[in-house]
């Protein structure tokens, strides 16, 4: 059996989004580097404030998740942060987040890194932790302040944001996690060496052999093993490095626009990397109804894909409004130009 299903059923008992308020239109990036006329992969992307990073953004998303979970933060048994933009190379983000949200000291805290699927990797680990009975509640966060080299095609999309989920017993869940599946190979499509500021990527190699190969494998295996197909889900969310890839992927498997548009946020905010799938899931949970099934498939370069299915429960109705919605963060926006963007992203050399 290839599926990942814990002994004790588990689910999401709280979720919370975070997206910083600044936006740079793709046309503004195009104006600087490529001329006005070039087509752009998305409309605009989110940019973190001068005082924000993966830790501060994770703290806010985690507080939102705790508000919806309605548990005492002291009941958490693990705080795991998935990101490829941890503020420190050495020193965990998880301990700062745990302290800030008031978690107990008797927890596991760690940082996950698997390019864009570090967040869902933390979710899978949380499923095992709770499902094995080692603890009742695990906080798993996917959050990034992604960097794109100035002028590189990734600069259009490398955005900031993410979401936190609290994994707990299925009996308390607002969405039960039915099953997960993870598929990985050694594929160098995108990477960043230890002290480098910007990532490198294999250009068109990031498409078929990386994004599509891994997602297709994980989705196909997941569907085969669970005996489901696109029509069994009301919503679907895929990793979304741009607007085009996830739509092409979704259509390949027979998903319709109605199924994937709620979770497709990259056209409005860009690619939030480790945050992308969890943020899309958060947008779906904001409107899903009890009984709805949700399919989610993450992709991380290097490379691998995690697939999940969720079943929404009655509890969603009572806890949904206990924190700001994903759309509230999307609609809260201040547009900035390239000069301000360059300051926010530390692109000016000051010394």
């Amino acid at each position: 059996m290839k599926l990942l299903i814990p002994e004790k059923p588990v689910g999401i008992i709280g979720y919370g989004a975070y997206i910083p308020r600044y936006r740079i239109p793709a046309s503004e990036i195009s104006r600087i580097w490529h001329g006005e006329s070039e087509g752009t992969p998305i409309k605009e992307k989110s940019v973190p404030g001068l005082d924000e990073d993966t830790i501060t953004m994770s703290i806010e998303a985690a507080r939102n998740a705790l508000n919806r979970a309605q548990i005492d933060p002291k009941e958490l048994r693990a705080v795991w942060i998935g990101s490829e933009s941890h503020p420190y190379a050495v020193k965990p983000s998880g301990t700062v987040v745990a302290e800030a949200i008031g978690a107990s000291e008797s927890i596991s805290a760690a940082d996950f890194e698997f390019a864009c699927k570090a967040g869902t990797e933390a979710v899978i680990a949380g499923m095992g932790f709770v499902g094995s009975g080692m603890g009742d509640y695990v906080l798993a966060v996917g959050m990034d302040t992604a960097q794109g080299r100035p002028g590189d095609v990734l600069e259009y999309t490398a955005a900031a944001g993410g979401a936190a989920v609290i994994i707990g017993p299925a009996s308390e869940a607002l969405a039960v996690i039915d099953a997960a599946y993870s598929f990985v190979t050694d594929t160098p499509d995108f990477w960043r060496r230890q002290t480098q500021k910007y990532p490198e990527h294999g250009q068109r190699f990031t498409g078929d052999p990386a994004y599509f190969h891994h997602l297709e494998n994980s989705i196909e295996t997941f569907f085969t093993e669970t005996g489901t197909s696109a029509k069994d889900y009301r919503f679907a969310v895929f990793h979304q490095p741009n607007a085009k890839f996830p739509q092409k992927l979704g259509k390949e498997f027979g998903f319709t626009k109605e199924q994937f548009q709620t979770g497709l946020l990259s056209p409005m905010i860009g690619n939030t990397y480790s945050g992308a799938v969890l943020l899309g899931l958060s947008a779906i949970l904001d409107i899903a109804e009890p009984g709805d099934k949700i399919f989610a498939a993450a992709f991380g370069s290097g490379a691998g894909s995690d697939a999940f299915s969720f079943t929404v429960t009655e509890r969603i109705k009572s806890c949904r409004n206990l924190a700001p919605s994903t759309q509230a963060y999307i609609q809260r926006r201040t547009e900035i130009d390239y000069a301000v963007y360059a300051r926010h992203r530390g692109k000016y050399i000051m010394n």
Partner: protein, 133 residues
């Protein structure tokens, strides 16, 4: 670099953890050994909600050393719903002008790098206009 000092104050800084006086119930921030209201000993931790309103404010354009990265910024006295007033920066103001009485909520943000890019990052409370929705 002053890692011990920031470490000692992390609970206050990260999440506005203060005290409630066991004798007169006054809420106290920052925490201190002697209650400023009744003069008796106070040591019971109290978690503030982080909600409050701007009591007064100004703008800093000529930021002090270590704070230029985020200048210009607004700094305010924020009156917490539970009573005490705290000094803090305002952030994510957007186009809304700051005014006395403006409802604000606490967020945890980067305050500064302790030393330089090699130092510890100092995180702490700031306030922003209350988020809708």
């Amino acid at each position: 670099m002053e890692a011990p000092r920031h470490w000692r104050l992390k609970k206050q800084r990260y999440s506005l953890t203060g005290e409630v006086c066991p004798h007169c119930s006054a809420k106290i921030f920052p925490p201190r050994d002697v209650c400023p209201e009744c003069g008796q000993e106070a040591k019971t931790a109290f978690q503030f909600s982080g909600k409050g309103e701007v009591f007064s404010y100004t703008a800093i354009t000529d930021a002090p050393a270590g704070y230029q990265d985020q200048a210009p910024y607004a700094i305010a006295l924020v009156k917490l719903n539970e009573g005490p007033i705290v000094t803090a920066q305002l952030t994510d103001l957007g186009t809304e002008p700051v005014r006395i009485g403006m409802p604000v909520e606490m967020v945890t943000r980067r305050i500064k790098d302790d030393g330089n890019e090699r130092g510890v990052i100092l995180y702490g409370y700031k306030f922003r206009p209350v988020m809708q929705g």
